[in-house]
Amino acid sequence: MSFLEIDRAVKQFGGLRAVDGVSFTVERGEIVGLLGPNGSGKTTLINLVSGALPATSGAIRLNGQRLTGLRGDQIARAGVARTFQLVRILPSLSLTENVMITAVFGRKAHWGAEARRVADHALEMVGLAGRANAVAGDLTYIDQKRLELARALAAEPEILLLDEWLAGLNPTELSEGVALIRKLHEGGLTILMVEHIIDAVRALCPRVVVMNSGQLIADEETGAALADPRVISAYLGGDVDA
């Protein structure tokens, strides 16, 4: 039994199969890249795993527990934490509260000083320690992204889903971001990351899964996948012998 099992997951929107029978697994402690051109169904798949959308059919299991059929909040409490493609900061909450909520409402259900300690620790991990009293709205873009990551970490998750967490960063910020994710992975966290920045994927993920038009077209070692003609034609167009 694998840690995260995605078994023939399907998501149908009207006549469109955004996710069309995708199956793969992620082992505990692994960091896997989820690639694919725009519209290939990556974010939809992340939404199925995190429960933002119900799957049309198929099964997703974490540590043997079936996630499909559960609500988003139940999946969060089962140990799945995520960030969002478009950063979501809560403007009326303080920085600490922004981070603390997953510790409070997550599976450990911390409260009071303990919840604050978990939040402070998460802020420290992403490099926002000492800024806990800043106003969330005043943060720069990278710091907002850090804040969102800290929120996911404060859940003390079993698995972290990153949806283009590195997108929109400048080169300096990008290398900081890559170093940060590597640190989390080395700390033992299981990570599934949607990413378009190939250099970052090469640097972080030994293995990738690639989607195109809702289907899985590759699940292999990163170097091999990026040289795979099917993957190249999915990104660049051209003849696809599917």
């Binding site: 995190s50 429960g51 933002a52 609500r71 988003g72 909040d73 969060a76 409490r77 934490a81 995520r82 969002f84 979501r88 809560l90 403007p91 009326s92 909450l93 509260e97 603390m100 909520i101 997953t102 409070v104 409402f105 997550g106 599976r107 409260w111 929120r151 859940a155």
Partner: protein, 304 residues
């Protein structure tokens, strides 16, 4: 400590109010206490979640009608308990079916709910019982009504203060900011919203029940007057709906202004009402408390 002592002293002084004021003054005190309670109870749910409810009068009127129907059949205490249960049950049913609506859809629905309840009761009274109006004859003095309302208002504000410090309060604030983040943080949206909505509705219903003997004669058009819902919203917004004392701060002056307007300009007063609504939304969109705070912090900045 002072945060608890000061309100308690204030409550004690307010409780002595009936000893020193005239009958007219007591009427004003009851009205002010009623609107403080309504606005605070409304804000208990709507203030943090930003679900603007115009259903206030649906619950308030239900409370009043419960007393009108049951006041001769049951002792007063039991009537109040019945009113609370009916209001809570109504909120539970309504909440389960509608709290997934967002924004303007929820606003319109809540307004429709108040009208629906009014029309259903009117229909029932006309077609089944054959009487539209009912009389409430209860052995309750005006002072007792005031003290009951004061107590309900105090309980509402104390409950809000407690919720603000609890997990429930944090969950409500997260929901008000972003429901998607709330879900993926592990918050059960339906349950949190429902708990707050029912708590708020029970208080609104009780407020209607407590104040009902003042009407003596009750009919749907009187106790389901939509102006009550609008006033409640604008009072809470004026003071600051997401602040503990905001609704109370907005309710007292606006209630006095409305009283003065309606007695001096009985025909044209809805015009002033409309102007006031617009003024509040334009001038103090975040409420008086946060406007005052930002003014103070700007002064500090300038002084530096």
């Amino acid at each position: 400590m002072i945060r608890i002592l000061l309100p308690l002293i204030g409550l004690g002084l307010l409780a002595l109010g009936p000893m020193v004021v005239s009958d007219y003054g007591l009427g004003l005190l009851i009205g002010a206490a009623t609107y403080v309670t309504l606005a605070s109870a409304w804000a208990l749910f709507s203030g943090q979640t930003h679900y603007i409810s115009l259903a206030t009068v649906a619950f308030y009127g239900t409370g009043a009608y419960t007393v009108a129907v049951l006041n001769e059949a049951l002792p007063y205490g039991a009537v109040l308990i019945c009113a609370a249960l009916i209001g809570g049950a109504m909120a539970l049913v309504v909440g389960l079916s509608t709290l997934r609506l967002r924004g303007v859809y929820f606003v319109i629905f809540s307004f429709g709910l108040a009208e629906l309840v009014r029309q259903v009761i009117t229909w029932y009274e006309v077609n089944v019982t054959g009487t539209l109006g009912r009389y409430i004859f209860l052995d309750i003095t005006t002072r007792q009504i005031y003290w009951q309302m004061l107590a309900l208002g105090a309980v509402t504000i104390a409950l809000t203060a407690w919720i603000n410090r609890s997990r429930l309060g944090l969950a409500l604030r997260v929901i008000g900011d972003d429901e998607t983040v709330a879900t993926h943080s592990g918050i059960n949206l339906a349950r949190v919203k429902l708990v707050a909505f029912v708590l708020s509705a029970v208080i609104l219903t009780l407020a209607g029940a407590i104040t009902s003997p003042r009407y003596v004669y009750v009919e749907p058009a009187i106790v389901f007057n939509p102006t009550v819902s609008f006033l409640t919203v604008i009072m809470a917004l004026l003071g600051g709906a997401n602040r503990l004392w905001g609704p109370a701060l907005g309710a007292v002056p606006l209630f006095l202004v409305f009283e003065w307007l309606s007695s001096n300009f009985p025909d044209t007063y809805p015009i002033f009402l409309g102007l006031l609504f617009i003024g509040v939304v334009f001038l103090v969109p975040n409420g008086l408390i946060s406007s005052a705070e930002s003014l103070v912090s700007r002064k500090k900045e300038a002084g530096r």
